[in-house]
Amino acid sequence: MPVEIVMKRAGSTLLVRMAGELDHHAVSGLRDKIDSKITLDNLKNVIFNFGGVDFMDSSGLGMVLGRYKLVSAQGGKVLACSLRPRVQRVFDLSGLQAKIPVFLSEQEALKNV
């Protein structure tokens, strides 16, 4: 299944809810959508909700890291939530949590932006 996303605004934060398989092919279509939303709506932070993601490889890490570079340059934050065990395994190995805090639910992530 290719990746599907829903983007929502919550104040100055962009919520990106994702479902499907996050690989290089899927990510190449997502990046521009997310970045133009951030720029056009002048948003500060991004929360990636991985709730529906059942496969992720390093391309998913790269996508998150790339958005971190983009918004942290303007003082914004990137957060992640609702990681399934498979996604968590890739996250843990990367040490990405030093930059991208991970929360159990979207509400919790929203409280921490």
Binding site: E21, D23, H25, V27, S58, S94
Partner: protein, 146 residues
């Protein structure tokens, strides 16, 4: 149980998902656990993605994926005939990437090494790259053992 397979695909990003699903389906005959299959799929995805992005630099080329199953040992290799790697040690370092501008994290080889039981890398600049990985599936637990 001995069996083998060979898959030849063009370096299109759509084939990343195709290749990992094919290898997972081939491995299914050894009755691996869900976690073992997930590890295998992720590692194959990393290797094929590297062939597409780095080996052929998102251009056109052929990727060969082979798998050999002997009892509970699966050996998978992914080969491209692309640009090759000059410094193998540097390439394998966690977080090293030659393409940070493409949003790469430099974690591909680290994931392959951690998710598989054996990993080796052979490459020659201008000739291409082969990644060979082994996964050893845990013993099947039958009702009689319990």
């Amino acid at each position: 149980m001995d069996n083998h397979m060979k898959l030849e695909i063009p370096s299109k990003s759509q084939n990343e998902a195709f290749a990992r699903v094919v290898v997972a389906a081939f491995a299914a005959q050894a009755d691996p656990t869900i976690d073992e299959i997930s590890d295998l799929k992720t590692a194959v995805s990393e290797a094929v993605t590297n062939a597409v992005i780095h080996g052929y630099e998102n251009g056109f080329g052929t990727i060969i994926v082979t798998a050999v199953l002997k009892d509970r040992r699966l050996e998978v290799s992914v080969t491209d005939y692309g640009v090759g790697i000059a410094d193998l040690e540097q390439a394998r370092e966690p977080l090293y990437t030659s393409k940070p501008e493409l949003d790469r994290s430099g974690m591909g080889f680290t994931i392959m090494e951690n998710f598989m039981d054996e990993f080796s890398l052979a490459s020659e600049p201008g000739k291409g790259t082969t990644v060979t990985m082994v996964k050893i599936f845990s013993q099947i637990k039958t009702g009689r053992d319990a």
